[in-house]
């Protein structure tokens, strides 16, 4: 977003060391988008952690009233088997956040490592990585994940791995681009002349300079991962033993004519989470490049 609002001054005058992680954080929160995004994420994390304490009902408990519209005892209504939707949505945040975080970090690990190696050493590693990325991008992300589910079933942890497998090329491409660009800079030449080790140059010299766009991409990856998990749930192909917002929509599909609340609240939860991650990424992006426009990578 081209918010012309100055981004750096959030740090000024608060006794925070520029360049430290506190400074980065203060910067992100200093933009209005970033602050809103960070706020939404914080609420979600608290929701996920405290779900067992604040949820009025255990996730699988069936109350005697099924398909009850929203009311005081059931703020979001109940589903077809009498489960309290409010409690289900609280518990569902656990699955979404786990998938988002897990898949994005796994993609970062795989894509980041390959991207660093290819960008730094170039040559054959680069050629192989580029072909691999091309191969992966021949299939839409959702089809890749569906293939994995078709073959290996929909165990929750396998699902995280499948999502990571589908999104790592985006991360690899970004890291690779950063390294290709930065390795030609003078300070790297200086580090080579100073006879610093390759590992030192890769991780201590280049990485700190490349890290910001990488973090933005991780946030966007997480939002894509959450959308994919919701999508699989909606298709009825997610792990049936876990509460998931997408799966609630799958059930809601059969009750659209009688229970709008079964669709409305889980869907809204998914949207708010994804918007939160994107605002956060946008806020971060604004700091790095005030002119830039970020956006979610294509999912569907």
């Amino acid at each position: 977003m081209s918010d012309s609002k100055a981004t750096a001054p959030a740090v000024a005058g608060k006794g925070i060391v520029p360049g430290s992680w506190q400074a980065h954080f203060a910067n992100i929160v200093g933009t209005r988008h970033g602050a809103l995004g960070a706020g939404i994420l914080l609420v979600l994390v608290v929701m996920a952690i405290t779900a067992p304490l604040i949820a009025p009902y255990p996730p699988l408990e069936q109350t005697p009233v099924s398909l009850a519209p929203p009311s005081w005892p059931f703020p979001f209504g109940t589903d077809n088997t009498g489960r309290d939707l409010f409690s289900l949505i609280l518990y569902g945040s656990q699955s979404s956040l786990l998938v988002g975080l897990g898949a994005a970090l796994a993609a970062l690990l795989v894509g980041g490592t390959l991207g660093i190696l290819a960008g730094y050493f170039q040559g054959p590693v680069e050629a192989v990585l580029m072909r691999l990325i091309e191969l992966f991008q021949t299939l839409p992300v959702i089809i890749l994940v569906l293939c994995a589910v078709a073959l290996f079933g929909s165990n929750f942890w396998l699902l995280i791995a499948a999502v990571a497998l589908a999104i790592w090329p985006m991360e690899a491409r970004l890291v690779y681009g950063q390294y290709i660009k930065l390795r030609e800079r003078e300070f790297i030449a200086a580090a080579r002349v100073a006879d610093l080790s390759t590992a030192h140059i890769m991780f201590r010299e280049i990485l700190p300079n490349a890290i910001q766009p990488i973090i933005v991409q991780v946030a966007l990856d997480a939002s894509i991962a959450i959308l994919i998990e919701a999508g699989l749930g909606f298709l009825g192909l997610s792990d049936p033993s876990r509460v998931s917002w997408g799966r609630l929509l799958f059930v809601a599909q059969d009750y659209m004519d009688s229970a709008w609340w079964m669709s409305l609240f889980p869907g809204a939860a998914i949207c708010i989470t994804v918007v939160g991650l994107n605002l956060f990424a946008d806020g971060l992006n604004e700091i790095i490049d005030p002119r830039s426009t970020s956006g979610m990578g294509g999912l569907q």
Partner: protein, 322 residues
């Protein structure tokens, strides 16, 4: 120009081959009996088992199996779907036109919608207007198509009763000519609206960035110095030059949509390739799954090729590079 085309086309061939080989190899990763993996969760009569073992040479070395499968695919034989009692290719060819119809009409809505928003946000002098559109597109793009679909169905089909909730047409239709077209459009309306809005937001975001980039170019200042009006500049210079990146992204998005608008087709029970894929996964009809996946890879590669050509046609500089 012709050489450029030829090279791009040649480049696509190994990519498709690798996809096919990988898909076939994945079947061997499924634990258990390979014949069962090919057929799905159905009891296999011994005679049929033998026929499959022979056809796919399951007792031969792996390389023989793969090359045998490739030859079959090259002949247009993607196998037989035991669940549907139909040849895989038959069913794909029956379903594909419906997905193509859905995707084309949706993009016909998404591209003008997105371009209008993108140009409005990118050229406006008011920071407020820009902010409004960027925030709106960010939020609306975060709405998953399957939820948007459910909301549209609940409001327009169930609450207002204006449009059908699902399917591609009534069970029995006697409508002809113009009435037939109207009837079709009623079934298309909601899926197209959901898909078009979603993709339109993507187009808008790309278009806005591209327009802002174009406006900062020197020739826009020249155009202004020549005394062209704002409208003239936008129409003659900005619009044409900003549409280039759009071709790439929209082309790729269209390609993946052809590979199956999986969610959308599920919400609206639109019997295209996406629904076919999901149903086949649920029934563990792996031969069908592989067929659809290969087909969707073909669609993406073909669309990318078309995008390359379009790009070369639109921007002469590209033909000489590479």
């Amino acid at each position: 120009m012709l050489r450029f085309v030829g090279r791009r086309a040649l480049y696509a061939v190994p990519l498709i081959l690798v996809v096919i080989i990988l898909m076939f190899s994945m079947l061997h990763l499924i634990p258990g009996d390979p014949v069962q993996a090919l057929v799905g969760d159905y009891p296999v009569p011994p005679a049929y088992r033998q026929a499959i073992e022979e056809k796919y040479r399951l007792n031969d070395p792996f390389l023989v199996q793969v090359s045998n499968y490739l030859i079959n695919v090259a002949k247009g034989d993607f196998g037989f779907s035991y669940q549907n009692q139909r040849a895989v290719l038959d069913l794909i060819l029956e379903r594909a036109p419906r997905t193509i119809l859905l995707a084309s009409v949706s993009f016909a809505l998404a591209i003008p919608l997105g371009m209008a928003i993108g140009v409005a946000a990118g050229t406006t002098r008011s920071a407020g207007t820009d902010k409004f559109w960027t925030t709106t597109t960010l939020i609306v793009y975060a709405v998953p198509t399957f939820w948007l679909g459910q909301l549209l169905v609940m409001f327009f089909a169930l609450h207002l009763g204006w449009l059908p909730t699902q399917g591609i047409g009534p069970m029995v239709s006697r409508a002809q000519g113009f009435a037939w077209l109207l009837e079709k459009l009623r079934y298309l309306a909601l899926p197209v609206l959901a898909f078009g809005i979603h993709e339109g937001m993507r187009v808008a975001r790309i278009m806005r960035a591209s327009v802002i980039d174009t406006i900062s170019q020197g020739y826009i200042i020249t155009a202004r110095a020549k005394g062209l009006t704002r409208g003239q500049i936008i129409r003659r210079h900005v619009l044409r030059n900003s549409s280039l990146p759009l071709v790439t992204i929209a082309g790729y998005a269209f390609g993946s949509a052809l590979g199956g608008a999986v969610f959308l087709e599920t919400v609206f029970t639109w019997p295209g390739l996406g629904l076919l894929l999901v149903d086949s996964i649920r029934l563990r009809d792996n031969m069908m799954v592989i067929g659809v996946v290969i087909f969707s890879a073909l669609a993406v590669v073909a669309m990318n090729l078309i995008v390359d050509l379009l790009y070369a046609a639109l921007d002469p500089r590209i033909r000489t590079v590479r």
